[in-house]
């Protein structure tokens, strides 16, 4: 991919990039601090915002409900942070990669921060810091849609769109009550702005994809663009659950009304809301996930090895943690049923099982990820082995040609394949 490198930049640009890299570290520390400090408040807010009767009716506890949703939001933050940190670590000498690192770190925290620090309920300083993270996330998110993958504005006039967007957002976030604030405009006008800005970004990407990008760039960027579009449209999604999902699990419903109507309506609503929130929250992972696919599958920025390892060990850690927790719970229940005790035994047995599982599971996960993302390497090895066996057994030229065509089609997957054979007849 053609992008300007740090080493080839003039000194002034060099300093600017250095400042931007330092700023990324500062913003990341800020995001981590804001989220970490706000986790207890988020948990308490989640618990206070749900009807305990419905949670109980579901066979759950308030603690379980709060832990589940808190964990879900943290998963989004951590996934964005990890991918952002890897991109920063390996490619922060490129402006476009640095912008992506900013977008990942800030966008991943947008939803949790908006829940942890609702507007008007925190000190002005905290409000300003949260606003700063939100501003950076929304500006870099949309800018990427205009700049990705080579960091140039194509068409050139689209730079005005980004400048205008940055201006609009600065009023909306830092002076929300001013007349120029997007937040103070009528809803249809707000929607129009969002549709126009994301629509032009999509147009720019489409134009770039069809007219400018090389075939490799097209492969590399198609996944990343999916993530970018979702990152830009994400802010719409934040409000969607609150618009379409039922509010019946609010604790304000008087008990006499709750009992009069019966719990099924409220419990069903809570289930629906949980499913909706889970879906919307997990959808936020598409932004980092699409870049992971682009990096792994199409070698975007050549940092696939790092992502590969992160993915393998991330999935491995998660799976082993689940196995450990599930195993301890299951064995404890079994041992208690059989002997009336067995806390220690269950923990020891599960720990041993997890230790034994480590290597086989790591190999299995590695194989699955290689099969999904390293198709060429994975298939080529198998195909070549099969082809060499076929060639050894075949003497007919036609059969060998067919086998060769098949191998090429399976491994390279070209649009069209043909074999040209030199005619060696005498006189030809």
């Amino acid at each position: 991919m053609t992008t300007a490198k740090f080493a080839t930049m003039p000194a002034s640009l060099d300093k600017r990039l250095l400042a931007a890299r330092t700023a990324w570290v500062a913003v990341t520390v800020l995001v981590v601090a804001l989220v970490a400090l706000g986790v207890p408040g988020l948990y308490a807010r989640l618990i206070a915002g749900v009807d305990e009767r419905s949670v109980t009716d579901l066979g759950w506890t308030l603690a379980g409900y709060g832990t589940y949703l808190t964990g879900l939001y943290l998963l989004v933050v951590v996934a964005h942070l990890v991918i952002g940190a890897i991109v920063y670590w390996r490619r922060s000498n490129e402006w476009i990669a640095l912008a992506l690192a900013f977008a990942l770190v800030c966008n991943g925290a947008l939803l949790p921060l908006s829940l942890i620090y609702p507007s008007g309920s925190v000190s002005p300083v905290v409000q300003l810091l949260v606003g700063l993270v939100t501003y950076i996330g929304l500006v870099t998110g949309l800018s990427l849609l205009y700049l990705f993958p080579d960091g140039r504005f194509i068409p050139r006039w689209t730079r005005l769109m980004v400048i205008a967007w940055a201006g609009l957002l600065s009023f909306a976030i830092f002076t929300p009550n001013s007349a120029l604030s997007l937040a103070a405009w009528p809803i249809p006008l707000q929607l129009l702005v969002l549709v126009v800005w994301s629509g032009v970004g999509l147009f720019a990407q489409l134009h770039r994809y069809l007219e400018v990008s090389s075939p490799l760039q097209r492969q590399q960027t198609k996944w990343a663009i999916l993530g970018l579009v979702l990152a830009v449209l994400g802010p719409f999604g934040y409000f969607l659950p609150f618009v379409i999902l039922p509010a019946l699990s609010d604790p304000e419903v008087p008990n006499i009304l709750y009992q009069r109507i019966g719990p099924s309506l409220f419990t069903f609503s809570l289930v629906f809301r949980l499913i909706g929130l889970t879906g919307f929250t997990l959808a936020l992972l598409i932004f980092p996930a699409s870049f992971v696919v682009a990096i792994l599958r199409y070698r975007l920025w050549d940092i696939d090895v790092i992502i590969n390892r992160t993915l393998v060990y991330g999935v491995l850690t998660g799976t082993l943690a689940l196995v450990y927790l599930g195993g301890v719970a299951l064995l404890q229940t079994m041992f208690y049923g059989l002997t009336g005790q067995g806390d220690q035994l269950a923990i020891v047995a599960t720990t041993l099982a997890v230790a034994a599982l480590f290597n086989p599971l790591r190999r299995r996960i590695q194989a699955v990820i290689d099969r999904r993302f390293y198709r060429r390497r994975y298939d080529a090895a198998r195909a070549l082995a099969a082809f060499s066996g076929t060639v050894q057994e075949e003497v007919d030229l036609e059969d060998v040609s067919q086998a060769l065509l098949r191998v090429v089609e399976e491994t390279v997957q070209p649009l069209q394949t043909s074999i040209w054979l030199r005619d060696i007849r005498p006189g030809s």
Binding site: E52, R53, S54, T56, D57, V243, I244, L245, P246, A247, L248, P251, V253, P254, N255, I256, L257, Y258, Q259, R260, I261, G262, P263, S264, L265, F268, S269, F272
Partner: protein, 287 residues
């Protein structure tokens, strides 16, 4: 591959069609039930206007019949739900202000609403616990209507009822949510007992308690439901004094607090000593 996609598409399309048909059926079914017009003779009730009767009405409305739980402290109504899946449902404004019933409906309409769960146009109400209020005596009902008519007007225009799918499903699963359907509107009503410290009067007062504590007061099964108030139930070790103390102060005999968001003890605690004793006597008769 293409065949698989085709089958998958057909499966998804069939499921969507099935879902759409189900939603249509549920909607039609519930809307038809709510569009039904109920016609039955309304017993004439004398609605007094003297201060004592109005005070009696206020006492009943603000204590044992729990009207403010749904209609709000000022009885000017309040929205219960407002989201696309559950719909828009509000408890009506009972005052004479804008959007209210007061001053717009006749005494007979009030009887129709409270006792029969049917609105002034003859259409069934939802949520209104008229199946419990059906047994309110004529004198008390007259006092309640007198009090409601005396309420200071509060302007509160509430949105029209518009049931969402979830609420319609709830109605399908529980017919009593349309009380007009489960009430025998022409059945003879037992005469209301005279106010006294008696189990009979206690039973009369405890009618609305069945909403949370179950039809036989043996406790509800839902989360947050009321306790088992029968002889062998949760009050087995309580004395009459402790019962009255708990309802007056929200403190159980062992010192635990009663959650007012679950058990509206602040309302019930305003009953007179004799009324609470009557209820206690009634509870002692339950097995």
């Amino acid at each position: 591959m293409r065949r698989s996609i085709k089958y998958l598409f057909l499966l998804v399309a069939s499921l969507v069609a099935l879902l759409a048909m189900s939603v249509f059926f549920v909607n039609r079914s519930v809307e038809q039930r709510l569009a039904r017009t109920y016609e039955f003779p309304i017993e004439p009730i004398e609605v007094p206007s003297d201060a004592a009767a109005i005070e009696r009405g206020r006492h009943l409305v603000t204590t044992i019949f729990f009207c403010q739980e749904c209609h709000g402290e000022d009885l000017a109504g309040k929205p219960h739900f407002s989201d696309p899946l559950s719909g828009t449902v509000s408890a009506r404004n009972l005052t004479a202000g804008a959007g209210g019933l007061g001053g717009k409906i006749s005494d007979a309409d009030w009887v129709r609403v409270i006792r029969h769960g049917v609105d002034e146009d003859g259409h069934p109400l939802i949520e209104m616990p008229s199946n419990s209020y059906y047994y309110i005596g004529d004198a008390d009902l007259g006092a309640i209507i007198a009090f409601l008519k005396s309420l200071p007007p509060v302007d509160n225009e509430l949105p029209e009822r518009d049931l969402g799918l979830f609420y319609q499903l709830a109605i399908l699963s529980d017919p009593s949510l349309i009380p007009a359907e489960v009430i025998d509107h022409t059945a003879p009503r037992p005469p209301a007992p005279e106010p006294a410290v008696s189990a009979e009067y206690g039973k009369y007062l405890a009618t609305a308690c069945t909403i949370c504590h179950g039809p036989d007061l043996s406790g509800g099964t839902a989360a947050g439901a009321g306790l088992d108030l029968t002889g062998g139930g949760n009050l087995i070790e309580w004395t009459e004094v402790e019962f009255m103390h708990a309802l007056r102060t929200g403190e159980r005999p062992r010192g635990e607090d009663i959650d007012p968001s679950r058990m509206p003890w602040k309302r019930v605690g305003k009953l007179t000593d004799d009324e609470l004793r009557a209820i206690w006597l009634y509870l002692q008769t339950l097995q």
